[in-house]
């Protein structure tokens, strides 16, 4: 019993001595705490740009050690759906990409854009290129990529047959005929994105005003009018004369791109955004851009189409607005933008960017041309857009232009309840 008591006393003494001696020792220096990082999320749909953005983000984080940027990427359609759901749950990304037109209008409707009017980083984007990101006089998003929705053409084939981009509709038809006679498909067209792309240069000089499609959705102009029916007739003419490849409506975007890369066609009716991937598929390909001029040379108003498909914006409900603005400003620095452009092959809206690839230098020539902002993106009611695109498919599928125009107008009337 005595022994046990002794043991207890001894243990207590040892513990007290340990504590006292420990307390007398030097304080261990605390490990330096990492500064708390602000995490911002950047959401977009361009999976092909992941590596380029990763490299840019690394540089941004090195320059701003207190900010961490997370990239979240979804396919373009899922991106929109997810974005709206996240905004409603007040859990949206801090910085995000958005398309112009109907999709931009939806985010404006939800009130989820932070007004970035007057921000310094906007200065590097020419005022007319900022327009697609504006609503009610406020700048909500800034176009980052500059796309020319004009057919891409194979310069090698054109040189072989001594062809030049034509200046009028007659010339365009003659060009197609020469190509066809030499066994080359003049235009590779696809049913997936082709009608929505090719309709823009086909319409640009036929429309009675630049905002004709806006007037259609307001009920002020009709698709059954001469300007639209003429455009459909011109589509029909190209199809009937065999200037598109066989079975256009069964060809998907990837199939069309493959045909063009294999040099089975002279023009690809998509846009400048295809030039980098075409080159990747066929490194020997020399490409240029040309738009069909659907009127006589003296009536030409525009040489081509431009658009912005990757607009960058900040979430109004972001808890890290300052960090988000810093990141956005970083993306718009010309040297950073140049890194992105040359890595992804995309032309940008930013002034002072040095382009290095052959394709980007070719696109840069179009900055000086008179181009119209993509009419399709001026439509903010998606059903109206679909009705117009479908009328082109109907004509290519064999429907008379007048009937296709009437069908489209009936759908527009139903949607806008006129």
């Amino acid at each position: 019993m005595k022994l046990r008591k002794g043991l207890v006393v001894l243990t207590i003494l040892m513990l007290v001595a340990g504590l006292v001696l420990g307390g007398c020792g030097q304080k261990k220096p605390e490990a330096p705490k990492e500064p708390e990082k602000t995490v911002i999320r950047f959401a977009h749909w361009r999976g092909e740009d992941k590596a380029a953005f990763e490299s840019i983000i690394k540089k941004f984080e090195a320059e701003n050690p207190t900010i961490k940027v997370e990239q979240s990427i979804e396919g373009s359609e899922k991106h929109d759906t997810k974005l709206l759901a996240e905004f409603q749950a007040k859990n949206g990304p801090d910085v995000f990409a958005v398309m112009p037109g109907a999709r931009f209008a939806n985010v404006v409707k939800g009130g989820w854009f932070l007004d970035i009017s007057g921000e310094k980083f906007l200065d590097v984007v020419k005022p007319h290129l900022r327009l697609p990101g504006q609503d009610g006089g406020k700048q909500y998003a800034v176009p980052y990529q500059l796309v020319f929705n004009d057919p891409v053409y194979n310069k090698g084939i054109f040189e072989k047959y001594k062809l030049e981009p034509p200046k009028d509709w007659k010339g365009f038809l003659a060009l197609c005929e020469t190509l066809k006679k030499n066994g080359i498909t003049p235009i590779i067209f696809d049913s997936e994105i082709g009608p929505g792309q090719f309709m823009n240069p086909m319409l640009m000089n036929n429309m009675p005003s630049d905002d004709a499609l806006v007037k259609v959705q307001k009920g002020e102009l009709k698709l059954t009018e001469d300007w639209f029916v003429t455009t459909l007739k011109q589509f029909k003419e190209l199809n009937d004369k065999g200037y598109f490849q066989k079975d256009v409506l069964g060809t998907k975007k990837a199939g069309a791109a493959a045909l063009f890369a294999q040099e089975k066609g002279a023009m690809l009716a998509q846009g400048s955004y295809m030039m980098a991937s075409n080159k990747q598929a066929n490194p020997n390909l020399k490409q240029g851009l040309l738009a069909p001029i659907t009127v006589s040379a003296d009536k030409m108003k525009y040489e081509g189409i431009h658009t912005a498909t990757f607009m960058i914006a900040i979430n109004k409900d972001s808890k890290n607005v300052e960090a988000a603005k810093k990141f956005m400003a970083f993306l718009f620095k010309p040297e950073i933008a140049a890194e992105y452009a040359n890595a992804t092959g995309q032309m940008l809206t930013i002034s002072g960017v040095q382009y290095k690839t052959e394709e980007l230098m070719e696109q840069a020539k179009w900055l000086e041309k008179k181009t119209l902002f993509q009419p399709r993106y001026m439509i903010t009611v998606s059903e109206v857009e679909k009705a117009i695109v479908n009328s082109i498919m109907d004509v290519i599928g064999g429907m008379a232009p007048e009937k296709a125009a009437l069908k489209a107008q009936q759908e527009v009337d139903r949607v806008i309840k006129k």
């Binding site: 359609e77 929109d80 759906t81 709206l84 409603q88 939806n106 409707k109 939800g110 009130g111 049913s191 997936e192 490849q245 066989k246 079975d247 256009v248 409506l249 069964g250 060809t251 998907k252 990837a254 199939g255 493959a258 045909l259 089975k264 998606s382 059903e383 679909k386 479908n390 498919m393 109907d394 599928g397 759908e411 139903r414």
Partner: protein
Amino acid sequence: MRKYWPLSFFILPGLLMYVIFFVFPAISALGLSLTDWNGITPERNFVGLANYKEMLTNDPIFAQAFGNNIKYMLFVVFFQTLFSLIFAMMLVKNSRLNVFYRALFFLPTIIASISVAFIWIFVYDPSIGSLNTFLTKLKLDFLIQSWLGDKNIAIYSIAVVQCWAHIGQVMVIFIAGLQSIPKSLYEVARIEGATPWQTFRHVTWPLLAPSATIVVAYTTLQSFKAFDLILAMTDGGPSYATEILSLFLYHQAFNHYKFGYASATAVIFMLIVASITLLQFKILRANKVSY
């Protein structure tokens, strides 16, 4: 009865899940279908039955989608059932070769629909697709089609892909049904001098009826609710030729942001599926066979 009431607690988790994930969304869809909600702004106005009226009386795309649904369903139900039965009868014996072929036919079932769609987009491509190239090589040029571009055949072209992807799966059900038929019945038929057709007609088919009913019920619902394959292959095009109800609903909600209207479509869609299920349930009960 009283002594069993504590057992009801065992069904509570399942019931709770059912209420949260089915009953509640179904009721909320019903509520939303009476509004003009755009899915973006919080405002929603009560519009009564306007969405239903518009859909059922004034929307040609809804009518076309419903018609496409029926065409798609009938094609898939007939050909998927027929070919899976033929393959099942060919591969019913458990030999090594048959087991290999069963696995081979089952393989497309485990491939994701999106991958199946991409494979077939290239098969059907009119210029570089293997199907038209194959037909050209066989000098069967007259059979060459714009498989996904022709409004009259696009829906059937996708239905073929649906059959290709699921025949192996349905075949397994038929094989199980065939293997459960007592061999003695075939012996009797053989002794009685029945021809192969008579054996099929009077022995195999009647005893396979329960399996066939399950197959038809499953295939009907599966084809009626098809979505991802069509979305990836044509997205409802060209000119709504392959738009079916599920896709119509999706486009209304996520392309046109008409969530109220899409909810009304969902309610109608749910009613159609429920009616088909009920009808099939009755047929299934009537087809019970004993021997």
